[in-house]
Amino acid sequence: MSASLCVVPDSISAGAPRPPSIHEVGARIKSHEWVNGEYRLLVLDAPASILNCEPGQFFHLLCPQTDRFQPYLRRPMSIYSFDAARGTLSFLYKVAGAGTGALAELQPGATLNIVGPLGKGFEIRPEWQRPLLLARGVGLATLAPLARECARLDRPLTAVCSARSPELLMSTDLFRSYGAEVITVTDAEGNSGVESLTTLIERLIRSRGIDAFFTCGSARLMRMLQEMGARHGIVGQVALEQQMACGIGMCQACVRPFRRETGAVNLRVCREGPVFDLQEVL
């Protein structure tokens, strides 16, 4: 990484004191179920103050201390769904390390301390009339609120969902309930490789008139869409994951390099992201 990289964003929000928009709250666990062998769905009773969310935003979860796991830092987790009318907020997550391992032990009725909503979400521009979503693994959860927003904005959506095996293909029914055309591919079926997907998406671009890409969950697929997007002049956005400490923008732990007009800049995934312009990711 060159020493010329700038590390703080060019704009700083206005200084005038204003009411808090990021909240730290204790939310009661309404339900907490396994959806398959690896993923759990966590549904919280949440106050209205934190449910003014954008698709693609995340919360920072204070995972509990348990006998088996003692996570110290919070864990960022993208929103699976938010419903201000019902007062619910949910997360679909893969049980992987100390944080999610500890989280998985929480029972309904317990309280979970969460901070959010955080970050910059997806922006569905008016000219994007025929979007395509490509999600893999946990990206299927991150892109669920985007599919709902596409339905709300009346944009026909094609959702290409990828996973290792068919039982790990989550939220495809949810995508269908939002009116999306769902196409599934899996490693087990041998149709999830870059070559097969390139052929599939080339065909969809021609037949559906795809004019925007959204993706999350795989660096390999993000690179593939960057290449296809450059070739076809199709723009898009990607939601990125990065290890974080503060989640709010103070610590500069979660930076990544991005291409900007002035050259490469380091941006904070927690603050300038987690959603970025697809072509800006280096």
Binding site: S4, C6, G15, A245, I248, M250, Q252, A253, V255
Partner: protein
């Protein structure tokens, strides 16, 4: 009601709770009203641009954190133009933290950032993350005195020397800073540390070594606070592992006139306003009229009950 104000030299703070450099930024204004706390301390800046260290920049280790962020900075000019004005809307004094490679550069830098809106300069002579295998000015009294002396002649702003736990000469370094004209000491920065993933054999920070912070650091920096408060006449500001009100009280009793809260803000961004509320309750609960009444009241005699537990 208890009087929460505290004086750090010529500055009067409305309460003794302030952030530790590197764990505070403008974004926290979206979590709570920034005038709730006693002062604002910015992340350390350098004169020129710095990209910072390679990833990963943080990792957690049993109830603590290691970081090697590496002081990414957009430079002095950008900071004065863009960041200083943000804090003009607040009453709490703005303390800016600066770092440099030489004593002369520290002095020039101090002059450049002595602008309206800046109430004090925190002199980061103790960041273990920059160069030279974790070495820092604040490890020895000589280099500490050089930096502060040169800065003293370059600015009239109060200078707060941020000391390092990575030294065997805590008292000598503190006295050197005082003799050279420091207005306050901050005890202390992070402790040089490292972590290895035993499964993969890989170091867990991109910079190999980094600074330990969080509750595990507290007994060490509390000890430094106690040592320094006894050894110098200037105010000492305690810093290291504070997350609960008892931690704040501990530092005040040890002799700190104020405290800085760091990593705890990452764990709970509302920690500082909570500690301000709880400090008032704690003083009232003890029948104390003010923060001043608690500062430096440490009892050093053994109590019988302590011995009885081990009998």
């Amino acid at each position: 009601m208890a009087d929460l104000t505290t004086k750090i030299g010529t500055l009067t703070l409305k309460n003794p709770i302030m952030p530790a450099s590197g764990t505070f930024s403008e974004e926290l204004a979206e979590v709570f009203h920034l005038d709730t706390i006693g002062a604002h301390v910015t992340k350390t800046i350098t004169r020129g641009k710095r990209a910072g260290n390679p990833m990963p920049r943080v990792c957690e280790v049993g109830g603590a954190m290691l970081n090697s962020i590496g002081i990414p900075s957009k430079g002095a000019e950008w900071f004065v133009k863009n960041v200083v004005p943000f804090y003009a809307d607040y009453d709490a004094p703005l303390v800016i933290s600066i770092s440099a490679n030489t004593a002369d550069e520290f002095a020039r830098f101090a002059e450049e950032v002595s602008v309206p809106g800046v109430a004090a300069i925190e002199v980061n002579i103790s960041c273990p993350n920059i160069e030279d295998d974790g070495k820092a000015f604040a490890m020895r009294p000589g280099p500490t005195g050089d930096v502060i002396r040169k800065m003293r002649s370059a600015t009239s702003l109060p200078l707060w020397a941020k000391l390092s736990p990575n030294t065997g000469e805590v008292v000598e370094v503190a006295q050197a800073a005082e003799a050279a004209g420091a207005d306050a000491l901050v005890t202390a920065n992070t402790m040089l540390a490292m972590a290895i993933d035993s499964r993969t054999g890989c170091v867990r920070l991109g910079n190999i070594m980094g600074g330990l912070s969080g509750p595990a650091l507290r007994p060490i920096t509390l000890r430094m606070t106690y040592q320094c408060a006894r050894a110098v006449a200037i105010p000492v500001i305690g810093c290291g592992g504070i997350s609960a009100i008892d931690d704040v009280l501990e530092y005040l009793i040890a002799g700190a006139r104020a405290v800085q809260v760091g990593t705890a803000t990452f764990i709970s961004p509302t920690t500082m306003p909570r500690l301000v509320r709880e400090l008032e309750q704690a003083l009232v609960g003890r029948g104390l009229p003010s923060v001043d009444a608690l500062i430096g009241t440490v009892e050093v005699a053994y109590e019988a009950i302590t011995l009885a537990e081990y009998a």
